[in-house]
């Protein structure tokens, strides 16, 4: 957690300072250096054997200077003083200023005041043999669940990332960010009918997380259960109907329907369907939604964002009223709004953008069973694949991977996956009931924006949406 980690990169503090100084030209109002070293490992299994193992090592620095709305950015996988200077000169280009004419304030050394994921390296990076053993047991557990399970694919991925951020506004701070994920996919076959089921989880956790409470076996059984269930799924209905979303991962609704639309960059540029809606009602009064990067060990959590700002908990929607955006330094400064610690980047090769961390709706007061009982004819969606949103017109989709019909207040037949489509600024006004059973997802989410992927979390209590379009095949 010490910026002494800078020595990991073979760069001295004074060299970092010199590079920042090179960026200190007239018109440049902010500059930063982002040093990153990342070791990613993966083992994967299929057809009952762990046949693949891979490891990737990358290290580099991203250099950025901003002048008004302009950003100059360069990166290098070489970390010599000369490379830093070259990158700084490129980043500085945007200010149209040929050479340095000032000095940035000397960064004050700081360390994060907390550690949300105190995982020792040895606990994250266990021997390959241990990972292989885990995957073998998963294969056996999934096949044991039902003989109709014909193939099991499982993968275990870990990433161990060390970052140091040096900024012209006086921050020099480092973080160590472990991350792992275990994913299981099963194929079930019966006659000519083949179906798929998936389950997984993870977070900023040690390897023991997966063994604790036999989580890895739960993942295997859940993936198998979904595949077997889908063997008997009927075609999904098409048209507008009430939909009950189960808690946890279906929170992807919030991520797509409102989360992206509240990222500050789109709102500064006034390209979001939410651009002029601060203080306005965008949800029913049972909805309160936050983005919280401070939950211990969660996949979307960070001690600090990639600009060195401590993450926080930002209220996006309070009892239905739109309260705020999530911001990075550039957009907070240009919009004159609070900095929320949401400046994130995929790696040193990417620019910082305002991004979500863990986005979820707070628990309400309804009994989940009452919520289902209140629906005469509709859909109960338990698990989803991915989703997408068009920020500008607000239209979003997300696709169910496990869903059931609700008939006369009872959950009945499983239906094939269907895509749900709606309008972001409108959909939450149709939420009439919120359960008391808030659940966060298991740690599998990856969010894509501008070609950059970052790990995120979502969460949701059971909710009822009075009407949304379901894209099935049956009228």
């Amino acid at each position: 957690m010490v910026p002494a980690q800078l020595t990991n990169f073979g760069i001295t503090e004074s060299e970092a300072q010199q590079a920042l100084d090179r960026l200190a030209v007239r018109d440049v109002d902010y500059a930063d250096l982002y040093f990153e070293s990342r070791v990613s490992e993966s083992v994967s299994m299929e057809e009952g054997i762990v046949k693949r193992a891979a490891k990737s090592i990358s290290q580099g620095v991203g250099v950025r200077a901003t002048a008004g709305e302009k950003t100059g950015f360069a990166y290098s996988d070489e970390l010599t003083k000369k490379d830093l200077e070259l990158a700084a000169d490129t980043a500085r280009y945007i200010a149209n200023s040929p050479k340095a004419d000032g000095t940035m304030p000397v960064p004050a050394q700081r360390r994060p005041t907390r550690d949300l994921y105190p995982v020792e390296r040895a606990q994250a990076e266990v021997a390959t043999a241990e990972r292989v053993a885990l995957l073998n047991e998963i294969d056996a557990a999934a096949r044991r669940y039902d003989p109709r399970i014909k193939n099991v694919m499982a993968s275990f991925n870990t990433e161990y990332k060390v970052v140091v951020v040096a900024t012209s506004d006086g921050t020099l701070i480092g973080d160590v960010q472990p991350l792992s994920r275990l994913q299981v996919t099963c194929i079930a076959e019966e006659g000519g009918n083949r179906q798929v089921g998936s389950f997984g989880g993870g977070g900023r956790v040690a390897f023991s997380f997966y063994r604790n409470e036999h989580r890895y076996l739960d993942y295997a059984r859940e993936a198998a259960r979904e595949a077997i269930l889908n063997l008997s799924a009927i075609d999904a209905p098409a048209g507008v109907m009430p939909v009950v979303l189960a808690g946890g991962w279906p929170g992807i609704l919030l991520h797509e329907a409102i989360g992206h639309g509240l990222e500050a960059d789109f709102n500064r540029k006034k390209t979001s369907a939410f651009s002029s809606l601060i203080g306005k009602r965008v949800a029913s009064d049972v909805c309160t939604i936050v983005d919280d990067g401070t939950l211990p060990a969660r996949r979307g959590s960070l001690n600090m964002d990639d600009e060195g700002t401590p993450t926080g908990c930002t209220t996006l929607i309070e009892k239905g009223i739109l309260r705020g955006y999530i911001t990075d330094k550039l957009n907070a400064r240009l919009m004159g709004i609070p900095l929320t610690g949401n400046g994130r980047r995929e790696n040193y090769q990417s620019v910082v953008l305002p991004r979500m961390t863990n986005t979820f709706m707070l628990a309400g007061e309804s009994d989940p069973q009452d919520i289902i009982r209140s629906v005469k004819k509709g859909l109960y969606a338990v698990s989803f694949g991915g989703g997408q949103v068009d920020i500008t017109n607000g239209k979003f989709v997300f696709s169910a991977s496990e869903a059931y019909l609700i008939e006369d207040g009872r959950v009945t037949k499983p239906v094939k996956g269907a895509t749900l489509i709606g309008n972001g600024p409108e959909i939450l006004t149709k939420v009439s009931m919120v359960g008391h059973d808030l659940k966060l997802d298991n740690g599998i989410g990856t969010c894509g924006k501008d070609g950059q992927s970052v790990p995120v979390g979502v969460g949701l209590p059971t909710i009822k949406i009075d009407e949304i379009t379901v894209g099935g095949t049956q009228s």
Binding site: K51, R52, K55, D77, K395, K416, T469, T473
Partner: protein, 462 residues
């Protein structure tokens, strides 16, 4: 052996110094105990300019390099990658890769291709352009593209910007059979993303247009790209939902291309041997209407998916995937081919640091004779789809349900724009239900299709 192969290579491999590097790492692997190995080295320069509402928003400049090693210890293998080319670091990488390989389970199918299969030739596929553009020219291109969109109509009120990217790179592949190959490629692209506002309601719409070329001089004018972006955005104003009903659906070139990429995934060897494709056991069977013929051609001159050899060093070629509706070939590399009892089709795709997978080269649907207007003209009441969103495709079953935008067709004419609807069906049936194929094939990426009409799908809206 290495020397000989190098002499046949039209590109000056020695120039990059990577040939020596590859030879050194192969030697290290052999000393470490590897029975076979292959190495990919890739480097590249990219320069990207984004402008927004007439001003520079972001400049990005980068130079990268990476080395990927796949090492075999008998029938066990592991893959690693690094950007650190120092000798000490590479020695360490080789040792770690060997240890990783020893930790996984033996897979009798794994291994390099047979030495006799290595590509004998290195055709020049015209993939590289020496043009380098300075910041001012790239900024000018992006500004002109965006300006053309912003001035096209007063209802174009804002912009997500315009981006001009140029990149140039090199790939070197070498293996312990003595194969070494190298090629260079470049790309130049402009994209423009305007936003239009409906004067009455204030509702916004965005769309975009882009072009990518390997040669700078082949790019259309910035103005024409900007104007097309504006046209596509403006036509979406006033979009509304339509009612839930079963109707014919016409896919434009872009969205038909997405259907073709679904087909491409379904014929990929990896999905097939894992029994995770809806086209399992269909080789030689009719999987589409007899209007459908699909090629994958790795050697189209200047093609965005062209390469002289694949990710394992096999010669690329033109494969017939579907011929008049009959599935003729899968896309295979050595491993997935062996799993299915078939030979590689030269479609190994290799990203540095991963073991080979299968990928298309230039994968396209052979055009028919009708214009898109003629095709729309055959629809009494139906949907013309211009954008699809979301991930509602189940590759195992073919079940298909995606968000869509487009236009409602009445009596053969486009009437009003539609949005917030889904289209659903099953890919197995949809390919069989293609009743018309357009004449308008244009390569804008590595997968391309002309306009197609599917007889009937479920549209869900109000």
């Amino acid at each position: 052996m290495l020397q000989q192969q190098q002499a046949e290579c039209p590109v000056d491999t020695a120039h990059s110094g990577y040939a020596q590097l590859a030879a050194d790492v192969l030697a290290m692997a052999k000393r470490a105990g590897a029975t076979a190995a292959d190495i990919v080295v890739a480097d590249g320069d990219t320069f990207s300019v984004q402008v927004r509402v007439g001003a520079v928003d972001r400049l990005t400049k980068a130079r990268e390099k990476r080395l990927g090693l796949r090492l075999f210890a008998g029938h066990r293998s592991a893959t690693t990658s690094t950007s650190d080319f120092s000798r000490a670091s590479l020695e360490h990488l080789v040792a770690e890769t060997y240890a990783l390989a020893k930790a996984v389970v033996e897979d009798p199918v794994s291994g390099l291709p047979d030495p006799s299969q290595m590509a004998p030739d290195r055709p020049d596929l015209d993939l590289h352009d020496e043009t380098t553009l300075d910041a001012e020219s790239q900024i000018d291109w992006a500004k002109r593209g965006e300006a053309a969109a912003l001035t096209a109509d007063p209802r174009i009120t804002n912009s997500e910007g315009a981006e001009f990217d140029s990149s140039s790179g090199r790939v070197v592949l070498a293996n312990s059979h003595g194969f070494i190959g190298e090629y260079r490629s470049s790309s130049f692209s402009l994209s423009v993303s305007p936003i239009a506002t409906e004067p009455e309601t204030g509702a916004m719409q965005r769309d975009a247009w882009y072009e990518v070329q390997r040669k700078f001089h082949k790019l259309s004018s910035a103005e024409s790209i900007g104007r097309e972006a504006a046209r596509r955005t403006l036509r979406r104003l006033g979009a509304r939902k339509t009612t839930t009903q079963r109707v014919p659906v016409v896919f434009d070139q872009e969205t038909a291309g997405s259907l073709l990429s679904n087909l491409c995934s379904a014929v990929s060897g990896y999905g097939l041997y894992k029994r995770a494709s809806f086209l399992l056991d269909q080789l030689g069977h009719t999987i589409a209407s007899d209007l459908i013929t699909v090629f994958d051609d790795g050697r189209m001159a200047g093609g965005l998916g062209s390469r002289p050899f694949d990710g394992e060093g096999l010669a690329t070629r033109k494969n017939t995937i579907v011929e008049r509706g009959v599935l003729k070939s899968y896309l295979l590399d050595t491993y997935s081919g062996k799993k299915l009892g078939l030979a590689s089709t030269g479609n190994a795709s290799r990203s540095v640091g991963e073991s080979p997978s299968v990928g298309p080269t230039n994968f396209y649907l052979v055009p028919g004779t009708k214009s898109s207007e003629d095709i729309i003209g055959t629809v009494k009441s139906g949907l013309y789809v211009t954008e699809l969103i979301g991930f509602g495709i189940n590759m195992v079953t073919g079940d298909y349900s995606r968000g869509a935008c487009g236009f409602w067709i009445e009596n053969g004419e486009l009437t009003y724009p539609v949005e917030e609807i889904t289209i659903a069906g099953n890919l197995k049936q949809m390919f069989k239900d293609i009743e018309l194929v357009g004449s308008d094939l244009v390569f804008r990426g590595r997968i391309a299709s002309p306009t197609v009409k599917v007889a009937e799908m479920m549209v869900a809206g109000n």
